[in-house]
């Protein structure tokens, strides 16, 4: 039976990310989907099916530091994932963010395959507060027994 929602939880070491100016070594991603790969790493590949809802949540490892998801984007190239794979080279500036929640449904028309996405994280406000990772992905599969 399909789980109606998959939760992807991202934990970020904010002080380390801001001090090193990279999410490399500061990002831990986990999800509630049984067949995912890369649990606990930035290279989480979330196994999912068309029609499932996916929900992203972020937490800072230190409860007193700020962390929000600024953006999640799936690049235009389909099929074999994003051209970029790694971590954003330099932190960008960020102002006060409006409240967003990140919840979407895997489209029914999407062919099966691995779709890498860019996760953009904002930690507080300021000229070096925004970092991104091009490492996580969704692995869209047909449900077992589907025609």
């Amino acid at each position: 039976m399909l789980a109606p929602i998959i939760n992807i939880v991202t934990v970020v070491d904010v002080i380390r990310a801001l001090a090193t100016r990279s999410l490399k070594d500061s990002l831990y991603m986990m999800d509630t989907s049984r067949h995912s790969d890369g649990q606990g790493t930035p290279r989480l590949t979330t196994a999912c099916h068309p029609g499932q809802r996916i929900h992203w949540i972020i937490r800072a490892i230190d409860v007193q530091t700020p962390a929000s998801i600024r953006d999640i984007t799936f690049p235009r190239a389909l099929g074999d994932g994003a051209p970029a794979h790694g971590f954003g080279p330099e932190p960008a500036a960020g102002e006060t963010l409006a409240w967003r929640y990140w919840s979407g449904i895997v489209p029914a028309y999407l062919p099966c395959g691995v779709y890498r996405y860019r996760l953009t994280v904002q930690m507080g406000t300021g000229r070096r507060s925004v970092l991104h990772a091009d490492t996580p992905a969704l692995k869209v599969m047909l449900p077992q027994g589907a025609p």
């Binding site: 929900h55 929000s68 409240w99 967003r100």
Partner: protein
Amino acid sequence: MSHSQQLGIVVMIDVAAAIGAGRLDDHIYLVDNNRSEGSTGEGTARLVSAIDATRIHTQGHAQVLNWLAFGIGGLPPTVPKTFFVNPAAATGPRLPGKISEAHAARVKVIDVTGTAVDAEGKGFAPPPVITRITGEAVDKCVMFPGEYGSPDPISDGRYWSATVNPNAVGLFAYTMHITLFHRSDGAWKGVPMTWDAHIDVRKEEVRNGFCDIAHVLPGV
């Protein structure tokens, strides 16, 4: 947005000066970690902490506030508490607070350079302790304070924390009850004082990042 899960309010006090004056005015300075979200009065006696009460159902918890009080001339919080434990017999004055005899005998009393103080405790003052949080924000059920435990032999092992009612919006005052310690007649005496501060609770509409439509998520 881009808030932290817990808002920390640091209360810095010039203890000797406040005790000498008999009040905290001019000798208390408040700082929180929410300046980027709109807190005002950072580093002054008049802090207004910006609280974002926006919550997404599936993300659960209410905003939490923590208060920590320190003497300006005291040991910084980064010194690990095990530093105080001295296996040799203790010298010098006994600490205030409910610590057992055995524990007190093992705790070293030191000044800000980590040097053990003399029997009169010169150069050392136990840090100020917040004993209660009261006031408008509590009376109106905007804030629910409680005392929590931590393994800290100096502050008697407790600190104050509060959750914010996600349905309350506006500017509310609260009162911190703070006890300062000074040496008098060969013992440490507690001097209770109070200080007021404010929380400014705001709430925003939440939108879906993918389709930018305002929507209340169903609970998971």
